[in-house]
Symmetry: C2
Subunit: 253 residues, 2 copies
Amino acid sequence: MRNIKLVLRYDGSDFKGWQSQPGVRTVQETLQKVLAEFSGQTLRLHASGRTDSGVHAVGQVAHFHSTLKMPADALVRAMNSRLPDDVAVVSAEDVPESFDANRDAVRKAYRYVIHDGATRNPLLRHYCCRHHQRLDAAAMKEAAQVLLGTHDFRSFETEWPNRKSSVRTITHLGLSRFGDYLWLDVEADGFLYNMVRAIAGTLINVGRGYWPTGEVGRIVQAQDRTRAGPTAPAQGLFLMRVSYQEASHEVDG
Amino acid sequence: MRNIKLVLRYDGSDFKGWQSQPGVRTVQETLQKVLAEFSGQTLRLHASGRTDSGVHAVGQVAHFHSTLKMPADALVRAMNSRLPDDVAVVSAEDVPESFDANRDAVRKAYRYVIHDGATRNPLLRHYCCRHHQRLDAAAMKEAAQVLLGTHDFRSFETEWPNRKSSVRTITHLGLSRFGDYLWLDVEADGFLYNMVRAIAGTLINVGRGYWPTGEVGRIVQAQDRTRAGPTAPAQGLFLMRVSYQEASHEVDG
């Protein structure tokens, strides 16, 4: 039995998220349907993690087991020629049968994009969250530093109590301004449900002067979701890459 | 009577171009409908030029005459709050009654975006033209130089004979690679119908090795549309800015 790892890119705008659900269009279902069409097999894809409705992926990773004979690079071409234009396979490779895209992920990186220019930009409306006032990026960057490292992040978790732990380690947190756009980059060993969007909503409250920079540390300490900012909209969020022990699956943006 | 100049930005994907036509969604009709809604007047917008179905604008310019009392900046906010999210007013200003967005334009700048990476990018599918092989950007840039200056561009004009002249002056022509993306930037005193897309199609033929760089000069000389390359797809084209004698209406991307 082969185990094949796929790197996937998709525009989340017209998908109801990753996970198959009856009666709606999802990324998983769309990919599995194409795999079934040309393999004649019912194959189940396992992603590094679900993405929500409207969330984009530059480098999602998934694996599936099959008895397909096709070489990995031919598989990429075959899938891309059949997939709709809002999802693509960036690469495919054979991996050990034990490889699991979710369990074996050692780091994930997300980017959250905020637009705070004077006028909304029709060309990027599906790919950023719009804020109507200029945000103080320096204050947001300063406030974010307290999130680096290992903490219990339940203040930034939508579904708590969960069945496991809310402790995660953020290994990188960057905030950069490019003209009217802010990029919040977060890399961690794992993410809680809506964690990046709750961090974004919290930092926006700092950037608009509603909270002092020190508030973020108090929110972490409080371990209480109601203390943090709102969950920022899905369309600003991009799953950038998923890294594994053996190699980092870097993909260019 | 006031004369108001608007700078407009739109995503052309879901519009059948600029110009009002019965039964289809156009940029002109969408804007005029909103102006009518809050002014109670039937106002006619005049653009610097039509854009085709699928073509985007970062800085289109249009003017309209009216007896509206609203200050220009309030007009921007009022229009943006009513417009659908794929079109926005970037700015509005009162101009002399004689100003004409089309007739008075002294330069226009277009950008054509080509993607030649190994895999199509779902996130930018509406904003570039995809080419399946790596293109030779240096050859394209070299070949393009012959287009600079004043020439009869009828070889790059879809509807010839037109009623006027096919002579235009290209004042800037740049070709830059950013990773898997090529940007073809063309600025001229005016453009013929489909001129940038015909230039893009011609340079792609050079970039893929089908034509030598010298072919572009022979095509200009031939004054024959059948000699040039195909009209490249609309979704790669952006009207970047329109400049007037009194001021250049630069808008940030």
